[in-house]
């Protein structure tokens, strides 16, 4: 079954590729082995399915009118310039690093996509080498069930809808034109135009509950020119330092803070006075509180106050 189908699809591709003009359905039925012994109806069904399946593997079949006199009857062909891989001339060193890409994806379908891309490059004569730099192993995982549908939606520019859960709130049905997806600290996010809010929004894939469903046609919207996903993700980054704290840190502790210090002076037995720049006050206060009595804030006062509030919250908890 597979064998006959593969054979028919190959012959269909070759026929449409070598033809100088559009081929009518009748002609295709005549020349492609596997079509002629079918009933009219069965042939129609088979041909439609075959076209769709070729489209899925990246073979674009062009529909046109094959002769003026037959305007009503569509003809089909595959244009060589849209079918063939364009010339990609990779130097030996470039080809070597491209080969490494094969090991990166920890996601079955994308690992498969990377491999089939590399097979095509090998078939085009690019000397892809999988064994260069064996000690370098970046790994990309994508365990979120919503990853695959969103990857496809981004590529085909298809609007989607999904239930989204925010901490401590009931899930909400959201409608999104997805522009791109990004991975930040191993978590995937989707960025796009939120049709409910009328604004750009970012959603964490792990908070999408249930299915991601199409909510329109492919290519229905445009992605803004010059979209910079890294810039969109800026707010995920820690705030850059705009203040400096003076801390007393017990000697032999507070290592995470000491790493970022700009000055350290011993003050009295067992203690250092350390200057540490910081951005977000509450984030810094939480970090300081985690060191308990090994770190004490001297100034500024608002940071002192924040640390005291956090520690009181912990101390006064009576379960």
């Amino acid at each position: 079954m597979t064998r006959r189908k593969s054979e028919r699809l190959m012959n269909l591709v070759i026929a449409l590729l070598v033809s100088q003009q559009y081929l009518t359905k009748d002609r295709i039925r005549q020349v492609v082995e596997g079509y002629h012994d079918q009933s009219d109806e069965a042939f129609e069904r088979m041909f439609e399915r075959d076209k769709e399946e070729l489209r899925e593997i990246g073979v674009h079949i062009e529909v046109g009118s094959f002769e003026k006199a037959f305007e009503d009857e569509p003809g089909y062909r595959i244009r060589r310039d849209t079918f063939e891989l364009p010339e990609i001339s990779l130097e030996a060193d470039e080809a070597a690093v491209v080969g490494l890409a094969a090991r990166v994806w920890q996601h079955a379908r994308l690992a498969g996509q990377t491999s089939s891309a590399l097979v095509k490059l090998k078939a085009a004569g690019v000397p892809v080498e999988p064994d260069a730099l064996p000690a370098l192993e970046p790994q990309l995982a994508a365990d979120e069930p919503s990853f695959e549908p969103l990857w496809d939606a981004v590529i085909s520019r298809t609007p989607v809808t999904f239930e989204y859960a925010r901490t401590g709130q009931p899930t909400q049905l959201r409608h999104l034109e997805p522009w791109g997806i990004l991975s930040w600290h191993g978590r995937w996010y989707v960025v796009g135009h939120d049709r409910d809010r009328g604004a750009t929004r970012m959603f964490r894939l792990s908070r999408i509950v249930g299915d991601v469903a199409p909510d329109g046609r492919p290519g229905e919207y445009d992605v803004p020119e010059g979209l910079d996903l890294r810039a969109e993700a800026e707010w995920l980054a820690p705030t850059s330092p705009d203040a400096s704290a003076t801390l007393r840190i017990r000697q032999g502790s507070g290592w995470g803070l000491r790493r970022r210090s700009t000055a350290t002076d011993p003050v009295d037995a067992g203690w250092d006075r350390v200057e540490v720049p910081y951005g977000g006050r509450w984030q810094m206060a939480e970090e300081i509180a985690s060191y308990a009595d090994d770190v004490v804030v001297e100034r500024p006062d608002d940071l002192r106050g924040a640390v005291v509030a956090i520690l009181r919250g912990v101390a006064e908890d009576v379960a």
Binding site: K5, G58, G125, A135, L136, I310, A319
Partner: protein, 320 residues
């Protein structure tokens, strides 16, 4: 399409141009390059043998030397000049390749960067249809000095000395390690190395290496050292030994998403009660201290008391 035809047709469309100029290539080599079994390649060739120009009579079929294939296991394919190039990459293929290379770029050594950058530029321009910016991967940059030293030690096979922070115990440790590989997980670079202090393989987060020195000593080979399988994620890879129960109120619920918890249960008061295994109670104490009361230890009871005592002790320094 049945899964096999979906795989077979694109593979055959690559196989034909691949075999041009490779007359007499062993079928085993072809299988290796295509990542399938030699039997599969033989099946593919058996299908191709029946393909050819439209309205084909025998002379128009793709010609496969079946005798050479069967007797010597080598491949000769002819009469398919109309398929000189493989099929164009699909957007998804291009994108998966580009994203993989970008991750590689983010941990590569300075010496390898130019090759990666130029390969990426060529692939991105071949993609052409604006798909390239649609996926980004952010990998945190480590201290360049630490990164370079690690790369150098790996490339030359030297032992390293690390000053390494262990935040869960708030310790700065000194250790010699034999580097095995540099990898990324959850968006951060890690060094996997044989640690002479632990006498075992350990993962070191690059941003926690305070200082890295390449020693003038060759690293021992560790061919049988177990490599950590990270496919299940980093936190899952760490075997916890202490069973703990936490109550999380709204501001601390993220803990349940961020760390692998064994069970979660909604409480009548709106809290989420989670059970988790931790390797180290120091880590948990620090996690709870920073939540300001939004996370409370239920079990172990001694830890709950210890955390409260810690906070009270810390407050005395503020006159409270």
């Amino acid at each position: 399409m049945s899964q096999s035809a979906r795989d077979q047709v694109p593979r055959m469309l690559a196989l034909v141009p691949y075999l041009r100029g490779r007359d007499g290539i062993p079928v085993d080599q072809v299988a290796k390059d295509f990542g399938v079994s030699p039997q599969q390649i033989v099946k593919d060739l058996n299908v191709l043998w029946f393909c050819g120009l439209p309205g084909a009579v025998t002379g128009d079929m793709i010609d496969v030397d079946m005798e050479a294939l069967e007797s010597e296991g080598v491949v000769y394919l002819d009469n398919a000049e109309y398929l000189p190039r493989p099929l164009r990459l699909t957007t998804s293929e291009t994108l998966s390749l580009i994203v993989a290379l970008r991750s590689l770029r983010d941990i590569a050594a300075a010496a390898e960067l130019p090759s990666i950058e130029s390969a990426l530029a060529k692939l991105e321009s071949a993609a052409g249809d604006g798909a390239a910016p649609a996926v980004e991967v952010h990998i945190e940059r480590a201290d360049p000095a630490v990164h370079e030293a690690t790369q150098k030690a790996l490339a030359t096979g030297h032992r390293m000395h690390l000053s390494y922070l262990v935040p869960s115990r708030d310790e700065r440790t000194e250790r010699d390690v034999d580097p095995l590989r540099l990898l990324t997980a959850e968006g951060r670079p890690y060094l996997e190395a044989w640690c002479h202090l632990a006498g075992d393989v350990r993962l070191f987060r690059l941003d926690r290496i305070v200082e890295a020195t390449v020693l003038d000593v060759a690293a021992d080979p560790h061919p049988h050292a177990p490599r950590r399988d990270l496919s299940e994620g980093l936190f899952r890879a760490v075997e916890g030994t202490v069973a703990a129960v936490l109550d999380l109120s709204s501001p601390a619920r993220w803990v349940a998403e961020y760390y692998a918890v064994d069970a979660a249960e909604e409480r009548p008061n709106g809290d989420l009660r989670v059970r988790l295994k931790v390797g180290d109670t120091g880590w948990l104490r620090r996690l709870v201290l920073r939540q300001g009361g939004a996370a409370r230890v239920v079990e172990p009871v001694e830890l709950a008391d210890e955390v409260r005592a810690c906070a009270r002790r810390a407050l005395t320094a503020y006159g409270g």
